[in-house]
């Protein structure tokens, strides 16, 4: 009698890679246990015991030479030309993996300062494309009809091939791209598919458009209830015994048990969080950097971050986006592209006309 619809569907899916499903109780509960998503690809780094760190100098040089040859092969990759397609509202295109660099102030033409974060777009190469029928993820989120969406596998960041497992490197064999630090899956409209080996750069986005940035928050470790949930704790004086930073009452009498999701001490941070609707103020195409508004992007400076076109309905682009990616002539664009209202540092000092 405790098996409801929810359990049936959960247990109905395939059990993969030691993931244990806990018993969900009544469907009236809003709390749904957050199951850890199993890793869809093989282990990335070789274990310390398997690694050959104690090589002689001669052997190290030999391995470097051989990996250089592989690199040369990869650089000779011929990427087929992509044809630009018409973008319509609702067609999701590929995202980007970027590195959060840090805070950067920008000023508008009327003198107000904008707090921005610089995101450096590290090497992003397309490794694989899974068309709608092929892509079948284990965790189904509320992203609409999966049967109609494809998946682009994008590799980002340089990695030392000597440290990677053979299984993981096998994922790159087909594409011929040098193995990367990370592979990300972006769920896209089938028309947004890019050929294997294409590299995506900062010009994929435009100045003035809005993006969502997903990052993993800084790990604060095990934290108490005051820091983690903002509780007020107990009084500091007036005879309080051992109740200065505690959570107080856990539940009231009706159900005679504690509700699921009760705020208690635990691990704080190290969670994926998205900031929505961040405006792009400036793009540097030479260094592949974009300046995005705000400074609260999850993660420490230097951490990797995922950028998507915004989902917010009131921040949708008015002009069609570069679809599937920017395919124009880069050299025609200036090195630094600024939003209209931004004051360029090389421009004259801002002055106002005196009142008459």
């Amino acid at each position: 009698m405790f098996l409801s619809k929810t359990i049936k569907t959960v247990l109905g899916t395939s059990i993969i890679n030691d993931v244990r499903y806990t018993q969900v109780c009544f469907h009236r509960f809003k709390f749904i246990p957050k199951l850890r998503v199993p890793e869809w690809h093989f282990r990335v780094e070789r274990r310390a015991k398997d690694r050959d760190d104690n090589l002689t100098e001669r052997n190290k040089r030999f391995i470097n030479e051989m990996s250089k040859k592989d690199h040369e092969k990869a650089s000779l990759l011929k990427v087929p030309t992509v044809e630009p397609k018409e973008w319509k509202k609702g067609m999701i295109r590929c995202g980007i993996v970027a590195k959060k660099l840090g805070y950067y102030p920008l000023w508008t033409k009327d003198g107000t300062r904008i707090c921005t974060t610089v995101l450096q777009i590290i090497e992003n190469h397309v490794i694989k494309y899974a068309p709608p029928g092929e892509f079948n993820p284990t965790m189904r989120k509320r992203l609409g009809n999966y049967n109609k969406k494809g998946c682009l596998y994008i590799g980002s960041g340089e990695a030392d091939p000597n440290r990677l497992t053979a299984n993981y490197m096998g994922l790159f064999k087909e594409s011929g791209v040098m193995p990367t630090q990370r592979i990300t899956r972006f769920i896209i409209h089938p028309d947004a598919a890019l050929p294997i080996g294409t590299s995506i750069n900062a010009l994929h986005y435009r100045v003035g458009d809005y993006v969502d940035v997903l990052g993993k928050t800084v790990d604060q470790g095990w934290q108490g209830v005051i820091k983690r949930w903002g509780f007020k704790g107990g009084p500091a004086t007036h005879g309080t015994t051992k109740n200065h930073r505690r959570g107080g009452s856990l539940a009231s009498g009706i159900k005679s048990r504690i509700w699921k999701g009760k705020k208690m001490p635990g691990n704080m941070g190290n969670r994926w969080r998205t900031l929505r609707g961040l405006k792009i103020w400036r793009i540097n195409r030479k260094e592949n950097c974009i300046w995005v508004s705000g400074r609260a992007i999850a993660g420490a400076p230097g951490s990797l971050v995922y950028i998507y076109d915004t989902v917010l309905p009131l921040r949708q682009p008015k002009e069609p986006l570069h679809f599937p990616t920017f395919l124009g002539d880069e050299s025609k664009l200036p090195e630094d592209i600024y939003e209209e209202t931004i004051h360029k540092f090389g421009d004259l000092t801002i002055t106002f006309e005196p009142e008459k």
Binding site: G102, Y104, W107, D110, G111, V118, K344, F345, G346
Partner: protein
């Protein structure tokens, strides 16, 4: 117990802490001739072939170009982009050499005032942050009212920054002027700039300041400030006892702390050699402009 440092240690970057530190262990004191030889060789090795000889005062003059020493926020690309933008802004506005304790006049485009410009003269009491975010606070007492104004140096609304009196003081942060007698913060608004001879060292003004009675805005007695007169006369027993309790006399021996507060010489040289040519060019251009401006002012008029 770990000593908790403030999160944004940008606050530590000031001229006092910009002494030269080598990223590798420094060569031993050159007492013998042999040691001298070794020291010279080590020096030569450190200076790469064909690198420019950067004058010693660059790290004081162009303090803003040095990044914040907090390792967490260091990023070479970010710093490179910032330096480029800083040079661009400097090509429009001459940002002179100044220190905490110098008297500055800042003219800004003010959308609120009628004439659309506004100027403020005051002593520079502190210099915060680095790079494009560099901020200074000027203090003056006008009509018996103490006023502090903060300016972002690289703000595009700033039309001019003039140094009316270039000098250093005994401390690197002079916020204690708020609790000092008003005469020490008063600066004549119509002051004429005092020029120093070119190449002359920056004078150190050793005036010691008298304080108002308690209460103060901060516990100045705990901050090891040299520019204040005998503080004990203003304090009560409790404050003196607390100062002894809170004192950290071991800090001056803490090498790692000093290490974390500074940027090594090699990195400094690298940064300054990048900007060397451009910044010298910009300075020359500003000098020429200033000369031309002076010429137009002193043009004789025919009065008939």
């Amino acid at each position: 117990m770990l000593r908790i440092l403030p999160k944004n240690s940008n606050y530590f970057v000031n001229s006092q802490f910009l002494f030269l530190r080598h990223s590798s262990s420094a060569p031993a004191a050159a007492t013998n001739e042999k040691n001298k030889e070794i020291a010279n060789y080590a020096d030569k090795k450190r200076i790469k072939k064909g690198s420019k000889k950067i004058p010693n005062d660059f790290r004081f003059k162009y303090q803003d170009f040095l990044p914040s020493p907090t390792a967490r926020y260091r990023n070479s690309l970010l710093e490179k982009l910032m330096r480029k933008d800083m040079l661009e802004r400097r090509s429009q506005v001459h940002i002179p050499e100044f220190y905490v304790g110098s008297i500055l006049k800042v003219t800004i485009s003010d959308p609120h005032s009628q004439g659309k410009t506004n100027s403020f003269v005051g002593i520079c009491t502190q210099r915060e942050y680095t790079g494009l975010c560099t901020r200074i606070t000027l203090r003056n007492v006008i009509d018996h009212q103490g006023i502090d104004v903060a300016y972002d140096i690289y703000d595009p609304l700033i039309q001019k920054i003039e140094v009316l009196k270039l000098e250093k003081r005994l401390d690197d942060r002079m916020l204690y002027l708020r609790d000092a007698l008003p005469e020490y913060s008063t600066v004549d608004v119509n002051m004429e700039p005092e020029l120093l001879a070119e190449g002359a060292p920056v004078p150190v003004n050793e005036t010691i300041v008298k304080m108002k009675p308690l209460p103060w805005m901060q516990k100045w007695e705990r901050k090891e400030l040299k520019g204040i007169e005998n503080l004990d006369q203003y304090l009560n027993l409790w404050r003196k006892q607390q100062r002894e309790k809170q004192a950290t006399p071991w800090e001056k021996y803490d090498l790692m702390k000093e290490y974390r507060r500074t940027i090594p010489e090699e990195q400094q040289n690298k940064i300054f050699s990048e900007i060397f040519d451009r910044i010298n060019k910009i300075n020359e251009e500003h000098k020429i402009k200033a000369k031309a401006a002076r010429r137009t002012i002193t043009k004789p008029q025919n009065i008939r």
